[in-house]
Subunit: 464 residues, 2 copies
């Protein structure tokens, strides 16, 4: 496989922010608050229905982006033209470099509700400005990796190929998604750009249009197999069983030169058709020709096919995986948990924020994860600390890990989860996540102080 091509930052990326981030940053600057250290925590408020865990992803891309993020002159011209930002603020943006620290779980770590996926420790204005980008990128990739982990589990060792680029929600979703899928165990992608950017194996068969362009299916198969001897032939353009018989006929015609690797079924009753295809191939002595299935597949359908004994060797999965169809968004939050050395929270209904910098300790028994404890960052509790320092002073502390390595580690981390979490149904009981005594005490203290301040009773000097 060729080496990954470098992925340049999209032009204008510094403007990929909500207007209020810029307004607040300018306010921090005007109020002299911009340099004070803030801690923001990025976490899922809850797991979507149908997820026993999330697979954290998108962190490495975010680190690269933060290290390189700059406001270009045309970005500043645009902001100036909005007519609301003073020159002092535009000058500050012109000199903007992300100078903060990032602590995060390694990509591919299973995470649960309320656990920080990453924490940003940075000057207030910087940490605020990157909120939209951080949530968008880590959210997208975590969403898609989490879905793919289920599809891979359902396929039970059979290769899964990402066919979803045409239905993904945009270019970025398709390319970053292909990477997230591969991290989660998907074998290959059909997307050539994703392969080029991330060093993912690429795969592809043929489309119905190729078959349609010939007056007969037999001729289309013959032409394609001549150019691509080890191809997979798409057999459902007209009649699936007939299509498989045409592959058998081609095998007889080509004799020893026949090296077609498989047939692909893309419509109809995949259980019945896979059995019929297998039977036709076996009866013709073509046991080595595999059956590849695609078309409307997700983890539930794959599991049902395999439970029913469908003789399918590999799956092409598109739409449902590419948009995480059953849970197309995460309830992700990026929340201020400390400012100027003081823990922060809010009291809004149903939107808890654990204050301060935190750590998550994962406890194992006989190699199996059994409980996570969310703790204050400075605590040293039993278990594996999941959050690691990845960036300091705006610079990566480690080179970007190779995707293959991250993928292997992801598989090991997922394998260490209890079996009930790796199953497709809801884990009963769900994974146990608790809060350390010290963090619980800190939360009580911060909530009491904030409530007093909110009531205007004390709260002392302004934070700045």
């Amino acid at each position: 496989m060729p080496l990954p091509l470098p992925a340049p930052l999209p032009p204008g990326l510094a403007l990929f922010t909500d207007l209020y981030e810029l307004r607040m940053a300018r306010a921090y600057l005007a109020l002299g608050m911009e340099r004070e250290t803030a801690v923001f925590s990025l976490f899922a408020r809850r797991l979507p229905r149908g997820r026993n865990f999330l697979l954290a992803c998108g962190i490495e891309d975010l680190l690269d982006t933060l290290a390189a993020l700059r406001f270009a002159p045309e970005d500043l011209d645009h902001l100036r033209a909005l007519g609301e930002f003073p020159e002092e603020f535009l000058r500050w943006l012109a000199g903007f470099r992300f100078s903060g620290a990032i602590h995060a779980v390694p990509e591919g770590t299973p995470v649960f509700a309320e656990e920080p996926i990453l924490e940003v420790v940075a000057p207030m204005a910087e940490a605020q400005l990157v909120e939209t980008l951080a949530m968008n990128q880590v959210g997208l990739q975590t969403l898609l990796a989490s879905k793919a982990a289920r599809v891979v589990a359902a396929a039970a060792g059979r290769p899964v190929v990402d066919f979803g680029s045409r239905r993904a929600q945009g270019l970025d979703a398709a390319v970053a998604g292909a990477r997230a899928f591969h991290l989660a165990g998907v074998a290959a992608t059909s997307n050539v750009l994703a392969g080029a950017r991330h060093g993912i194996p690429v795969a592809g068969t043929m489309a119905h249009s190729f078959v349609q362009a010939f007056d007969s299916e037999a001729e289309a198969f013959r032409a394609y197999a001549r150019l691509y001897p080890e191809t997979i032939l798409l057999v459902d353009t007209y009649d699936t069983a007939e299509g498989v018989r045409r592959v058998v006929a081609l095998a007889r015609e080509l004799g020893d030169a026949f090296r077609v690797r498989g047939v692909r079924l893309d419509s109809g009753d995949l259980l019945a058709l896979s059995r019929e295809a297998r039977a036709i191939l076996d009866a013709a002595g073509l046991r080595q020709v595999q059956v590849f299935a695609s078309g409307g597949l997700d983890e539930e359908r794959i599991a049902a096919l395999l439970a029913a004994g469908a003789p399918i060797d590999a799956f092409g999965v598109g739409t449902d995986m590419s948009v995480s169809a059953d849970a197309p968004a995460l309830d992700l939050a990026y929340k201020l948990t400390a400012y100027a050395g003081v823990g922060r929270t809010k009291l809004s209904a149903g939107k808890r924020i654990l204050p301060g910098r935190k750590q998550v300790f994962r406890r194992f028994r006989d190699g199996e994860a059994e409980e996570d404890v969310i703790a204050r960052a400075e605590e040293a509790l039993p278990g594996e600390p999941l959050l690691r320092p990845l960036m300091r002073d705006g610079r990566r502390l480690h080179p970007r890990p190779a995707l293959a390595q991250a993928r292997a580690e992801t598989a090991a981390r997922v394998a260490a989860l209890p079996a009930r979490l790796r199953a497709l149904g809801p884990a009963d009981p769900p994974y146990r996540v608790t809060i350390s005594t010290a963090l619980a005490a800190h939360e009580r203290e911060v909530r009491a102080r904030v409530a007093a301040g909110a009531r205007g009773q004390g709260g002392g000097a302004p934070a700045r």
Copy 2:
């Protein structure tokens, strides 16, 4: 508002294709089939549940992309390194220019199942290569515009602001999505890059983090209102009613200098809280201060709030609109309908393809759309022909329409739909779409010919 910034093509975009497209293109080249004219039709096989129509979108971006799409030397190096493509094909790719014609409905046209959104008439290899990109881009924007049309309808004239960038599925989804939302009637976006690229009004208030960074909410409000006198203040960080009372206190403190435009509620029971906020503001004589609601909104919740009489003046809508949460993908297809002057179809179960080049005639009665007829392209039937020539020889036939103009035309086209289609519930009866006699006859003829060819009975000379 500043002029839109030009959107450069993302580097590597020519590689945004499925590997099989390249394999097929190379096969067409090897077989001497690459120059033969193909017609591909892009259409939705069915409307997703919860949609009475789709709003076509993404076509203008696709035209710009096709006109500029080239394989860069590094793209070709990458393909060469895959080790499967002959130099002859790489040379052909190096000279690749999309030279085809595009017929499409204007952006913002309501479309229905099986109606072509666009048709590509181009040399076979070119039309094949752009499949993935065309489906991804038109699919994304059509998906999101269609969702936004419902949110806008639910808001019944109140402004809707797109807050979804943090939860959109990637950068492209957020930026192209903001444009699709605006086309569909959304008033503004929070995304500064989307505003810059597409000339969309940008809007933003303040985040909880700003309030949290102060020791008291009152102080945070005072500081923000001093910098942004006409701001909207976020009142739910601690206690919503208390937050509103603090706005009242600020009004008393500032007297004539008080120009705060509104309060924003972002959590809790928005019906009860909006009533309470309105009552507190009115009792203080602040009738001009608006109530802005956000947090977990979609068209159903907005409709329910307004039906219950919630005194809400504007809505911020994020996640559910940004990922089209109830229908996160379209069953879109890009199918070969003619090749070498001969109509094509396939016979796969449940996947009908209407052969040949087509036109859609929309019939109106008293200004209201009452029926669409899908016809052969050369027919001249009563009604408005929806598909128009937009590109010829790879060049646009018209400059890109201004977004504001397209938005106004979209509103008029949606307004011309029967009221039952614009309602949120399922239209009963659904909109009537029929197939012309000539197209039905052509379909029968092509299916018969294809079935005979598939059975190996006749079919005549190979298409090439």
